[in-house]
Symmetry: C2
Subunit: 177 residues, 2 copies
């Protein structure tokens, strides 16, 4: 398993994308990424809100901005994965990725992904050959690739935690064991 799993989100637009990019970053964090870098328009509100969640809910998760996508990708010391509808079946790629413990950079495109992103990537990976969402793509990719227990583990330094035995987690009588 990789030690460092960083997301690179391309082409963020402050107004149009704020909620989607925020959902991408939060999903990346929840499903086991260690950091998130974005390109496009700088968005300090986005950065603050992600840092705030990460601080309160624990664990370590970084958020950064880059202006130079090509330089950033070329400087990555590890495996580069690009999630795209045009990629290969993710299950084949995940089988191969599990044999390595390199750091992994996961690129998520914006409106139009430059050709060199496909070419600089070690893997171009689809999560289904249907249109859906970069939020769903990053969540399902990480969920499939990483240890599923991560999702329910306590995170170090959290000041907020869900109590799974609260009354809202109830099942109806019919389905109780």
């Amino acid at each position: 398993m990789a030690r460092k799993i960083e997301i690179l989100r391309l082409d963020h637009r402050t107004v149009r994308d704020q909620r989607i990019t925020s959902h991408v970053a939060l999903s990346a964090r929840t499903f086991g990424a260690t950091g998130f870098t974005y390109a496009g328009e700088r968005d300090l509100n986005l950065e603050e809100s992600i840092k705030d969640v990460a601080k309160r809910w624990g664990g370590s998760f970084t958020i950064n901005y880059t202006e130079k996508i090509g330089t950033f990708i070329r400087a990555w010391d590890g495996i580069v994965v690009h999630l795209t509808m045009y990629g290969e079946d993710h299950r084949d790629a995940v089988d191969v990725l599990r044999e390595y413990d390199d750091d992994i950079l996961i690129i998520l495109g914006g409106a139009k992904v430059p050709r060199y992103v496909y070419e600089l990537s070690d893997f171009n990976i689809a999560i289904g050959w249907q249109p859906h969402s970069e939020v769903a793509a990053i969540a399902v990719f990480l969920y499939d690739y990483l240890d599923k227990n991560l999702l329910y583990a306590d995170r170090e330094g959290a000041s907020i935690r869900i109590n799974p035995n609260n009354s809202k987690s109830k099942r109806s009588e019919r389905f109780k064991n």
Copy 2:
């Protein structure tokens, strides 16, 4: 496995939620739901754009609007699942759900979920006890619950298809078999 898997998305707001709700609906479709109903503000642009994708990309997927959440849930003839951060570990629930072949309604909340939604649901299910995204939640839930081959299967009547052998799906030399 369930025959009819319908999403009920609460509290849609036309301006603020259009992209997120659209990502929820598209992810629901891609990951195997058969229909999508939403409450909150009626949004004809949303409906048109989802219908358009569903038509071009094939398979059958319906989109509907309801004003009466409680009535809609009570009228559901099958199992009611509510996805919420406050729910139980989804893996336990999925194990139980796999023993039934009833239709399933999956409720996704908005800003504030009324108490009766928890109470009318047979299962209140978390996808991790961390804040993330309703898009990630629906995708991972359906991915875990349904046949994963769905994701890559041809869909009937599609006028658009991804060719998985196109040049964009390439791997770098190091990782070729």
